[in-house]
């Protein structure tokens, strides 16, 4: 069978790192071809080469059997290659229709002919079951619909080769199902799809074949149907991965954090409702307490109130017996709270600082790193080197690597390293494994359990049911800002937990709401 894309022996180097080393990718017409690899394995680099954003040092690209040189997205487009980027490339203040036709406008006598475009878009939307509202502003529509707009953009340009760069990272489970359905539909119509991901379930669900990369190297290409998830994960990580965690029984000690009747009002303009309502709970030494819930049920606001990013409207917070309700972030940082934030780019890192500077983001002023107002740069670099080594953070230039240039997984590892190494009494971890590959997930899970076993209190906030069930000593379910259940993970099933999270308490098991 003929290949529609052949990338042969592609090598691409960056300062300090070989992002692609003799990588080969061959995609057949009409197949869904998964590109699997850990964060930083070189998947995005390879796709950027295919899209003309980078020029490879070595290697040949053939499209439909013909050797080509691609110097930019425009030429890629002319060859029928389209890409849905992980971060959408949409103009927020334009409508859906305007975004789809942008750059390909039908013009008559210098005037836009949007009616024809609208008809074509609606026909495509019908044909592939991609429901969109063409006159809605992009800023007003859901992330799922924005993604459908991106797909329609490719179809409108009559692209034959569709690249999806980690398309499911931002979607809800229902939206993921819809996307999978759409992808199958597109392949059935003869489109060829490259599906970049590190989620094995999704590969098993839709992909025909799978190319695996590890640390920039080509590992192999396999037929998905006849390959087990375990084999795929081993190829990707380079060793056996075990996500099952066996929590050693441990009697929790003294409470570290106590939350009493906490209320937080919405900070959005024109709103005055409580987003955290009368929440009370405690986290003790040597236990992992998980707050489970569907996104947007007050978790973010609760965490911000706990860590001092916003002040609660009423209630009492106690850390190791001390009232911290009105204390600053700095006070909480230095008195035993560490925080792995939900959004690593917004809160977790200063992307324009180096890795080393980011690793002392909370500690730069302590005597260890500062002397009479001057930073002790040697000490900072030595400390950073120590953490890089101890926590296996991969970076091109060590402590001096710009944080922005690191892969998502290694950025997250850097944050985890920084927070755990501060030796906190309470570790607040908010979706610590979001968007990470199995190897990194396994690693971070083990680190959280280590903290617990060392007698620290861990508060985990997660949306992933598996993670919640696997890691917790206790599960608190949050729904519309209130804690609606305090559950023992050993006594409930995933299904029951799901019902609690959806706000319909089954009432059968372990129902002792605080």
């Amino acid at each position: 069978m003929d290949y529609i894309i052949e990338m042969l022996g592609i090598t691409k180097e960056f300062p300090g790192i070989v992002a692609n080393n003799e990588v080969t990718l061959k995609v057949k017409k009409g197949e869904i071809h998964a590109l699997l690899g850990e964060n930083g394995a070189g998947k995005s680099t390879l796709m950027n080469v295919l899209f003309g954003l980078y020029q490879p040092e070595k290697g040949v690209i053939k499209i439909r059997g013909k050797e080509v040189n691609i110097f930019g997205p425009r030429e890629a487009n002319a060859l029928g290659i389209g890409m849905v980027h992980q971060h959408f490339m949409l103009v927020d203040s334009f409508t859906v229709l305007q975004n789809i036709v942008l750059g390909m406008e039908t013009v008559a006598g210098g005037l836009l002919r949007m009616e024809e475009a609208r008809k074509k878009v609606m026909a495509l939307s019908e044909q592939y079951g991609l429901k969109v509202d063409p006159s809605a502003l992009v800023s007003d529509i859901s992330v799922g619909m924005q993604q459908r707009v991106e797909i329609l953009k490719m179809l409108y340009r009559e692209n034959e080769i569709l690249i999806f760069d980690e398309p499911t990272a931002v979607l809800t489970p229902q939206e993921i199902d819809e996307l999978m359905h759409t992808m199958r539909g597109l392949a059935a119509e003869g489109k060829s799809i490259i599906f970049i991901t590190h989620k094995l379930n999704e590969i098993k669900a839709v992909a025909d074949r799978c190319t695996v990369l590890r640390r920039g190297k080509f590992i192999g290409v396999v037929d998905v149907a006849s390959t087990s998830k375990e084999t795929l994960s081993e190829m990707m990580v380079g060793r056996k991965v075990n996500l099952e965690i066996d929590l050693q029984p441990l009697t929790p000690g003294e409470p570290v954090l106590q939350v009493d009747k906490l209320f937080v009002k919405s900070r959005r303009q024109g709103q005055d409702k409580d987003v955290v309502k009368n929440v009370s709970f405690s986290v003790r030494k040597g236990e992992i307490v998980c707050i489970a819930g569907i996104d947007g049920n007050g978790q973010t606001e609760l965490v911000h109130a706990l860590t001092g990013l916003t002040m609660p409207d009423s209630g009492l917070l106690t850390l190791n017996g001390e009232d911290i309700t009105r204390q600053s972030v700095r006070f909480r940082n230095t008195h035993g709270i560490a925080h792995i934030p939900e959004d690593r780019h917004k809160h977790g890192l200063v992307l324009d600082y180096t890795l080393g500077e980011n690793l002392v983001l909370q500690g730069y002023f302590t005597p260890e790193f500062q002397n009479n107002g001057f930073l002790r740069r040697k000490k900072i670099i030595n400390y950073a080197d120590k953490l890089i080594d101890k926590y296996d953070i991969r970076s091109g230039q060590g402590a001096l690597t710009p944080a922005r240039s690191m892969s998502g997984g290694n950025q997250q590892k850097a944050i985890v390293a920084r927070e755990i190494d501060r030796n906190p009494d309470l570790l607040v971890a908010v979706q610590p494994t979001r968007g990470l590959d199995v190897g990194a997930i396994e690693y971070i899970h083990h680190k959280l359990v280590e903290q617990r076993d060392a007698g620290k209190a861990v508060l985990l906030i997660s949306l992933e049911l598996d993670e919640v069930m696997n890691l917790s000593d206790r599960i608190l379910v949050i729904y519309e800002g209130s804690i609606v259940a305090d559950l023992n993970p050993k006594e409930i099933t995933v299904q029951e937990l799901g019902l609690y999270m959806a706000g319909s308490a089954p009432g059968a098991v372990g129902r002792d709401v605080q």
Binding site: K12, R330, H347, E357, F369
Partner: protein, 360 residues
């Protein structure tokens, strides 16, 4: 990053500034050729070499550079901490007024008179940037808007204050400052005879060094830059981000104000004129900061370069050029020089696309 890489990066920054300067000079040459082809080459070589014809001219370069190094530092420091201080002009003139009023009203201070007058300049400049800082920190009002407004308020306020305090009716300007308020020459008048250069130039260099150290070596600068790069992450890290924003603005304002003080205490017949014109030094500071890529050391050299072009331009009057043409040429050289950031981006993108060569 190894030391060699750092040097390489520094070289690329320097290179981009040099390329921008060359583009500016070529553009100036084109204007010369259009306005007076016969004298163009002579005029052009005067611009390039005029500042080196004698020691006096070199002194004049330093004199011209002093205030714009300070306003350049003001804008560059704000840039490095994530703020665009377009209000250097207002801060500059407030600083000038602070220096002049102290320079006239407090002659009893004796030998420290000029030092106190300069301090007053820095304080008034800093105060003038305080309000935009507070608005930015607490109400998220963009500092570009608020500091532009403050430029006009500052200009009219200083006009009003001069009229009511130290007004020289005959000349429509401020009165002269006391002798004790004039910045000493510290021997510079011996090295560069008949030029106006004075110890203010040393103060400018000192300011460059202090700002460089604050930004690159201190935990205070670490905080200010962190807030500039990412306000949310700084808050998360426990940095008082509102305080940092206000302090950044105030320090930037104090630098611009000090620049005003240094110019008006130079003892060179410079008086605050009561006219409705914003101080040009504030805007030249933006060019200086851009040409120097906001690096304090770069700003020092950028300020000297612009002083050098200005002095060279002065000598062009020997040729048959209208003074306006000279102004246009000097302005366009400065204008194009400020493109160094664009040049740098082009170089960086090239390097990125070509892969940056070998693995280290």
């Amino acid at each position: 990053m190894k030391l060699t890489d750092r040097i390489k990066n520094m070289n690329f920054s320097f290179l981009s500034s040099v390329i921008a300067i060359i583009i500016g000079l070529l553009f100036g040459l084109v204007i010369l050729l259009i306005s007076n082809p016969a004298q163009a080459m002579g005029g052009f070589s005067t611009i390039l070499t005029g500042a080196f014809r004698d020691m006096r001219s070199i002194g004049r370069v330093m004199y011209f550079a002093t205030p714009i190094i300070l306003t350049g530092l003001s804008v560059g420091f704000a840039f490095k901490t994530g703020l665009f201080n377009i209000g250097a002009s207002g801060q500059f003139i407030l600083g000038a007024f602070g220096a002049v009023i102290v320079g006239i009203k407090l002659p009893q201070l004796g030998s420290v008179h000029w030092v106190v007058a300069l301090l007053a300049a820095a304080i008034l400049g800093g105060l003038w940037a305080l309000l935009p800082g507070i608005l930015k920190a607490y109400a998220n009002v963009h500092e570009v808007i608020s500091s532009i407004m403050m430029n006009y308020i500052g200009m009219y306020l200083v006009n009003y204050l001069v009229l009511n305090t130290v007004y020289d009716r005959l000349r429509n300007q401020s009165m002269g400052v006391a002798k004790s308020a004039v910045i000493p020459k510290m021997g510079l008048d011996k090295i560069f005879p008949r030029s106006n250069v004075n110890a203010g130039f040393f103060i400018a260099i000192l300011a460059v060094i202090v700002i460089y150290i604050i930004l690159n070596r201190t935990s205070f600068g670490f905080e200010l830059k962190a807030v500039g790069y990412n306000r949310d992450a700084s808050k998360y890290a426990g940095i008082n981000e509102k305080r940092s924003i206000i302090l950044s603005m105030v320090i930037a304002g104090a630098l611009a104000g000090l620049g005003g003080g240094l110019l008006y205490l130079a003892g060179t017949g410079k008086y605050i004129e009561v006219v409705d014109i914003l101080a040009a030094e504030g805007f030249t500071g933006i060019s200086v900061a851009l040409l120097g890529l906001s690096n304090p050391i770069g700003i020092l050299f950028a300020g000297l370069f612009i002083g050098y072009i200005t002095v060279g331009g002065d000598y062009m009057q020997l040729y048959d050029f209208a003074p306006e043409i000279i102004d246009i040429i000097v302005a366009s050289i400065i204008y194009f020089s400020a493109f160094s950031l664009i040049v740098k981006n082009v170089i960086d993108r090239r390097r990125m696309k070509l892969g940056g060569g070998k693995v280290q």
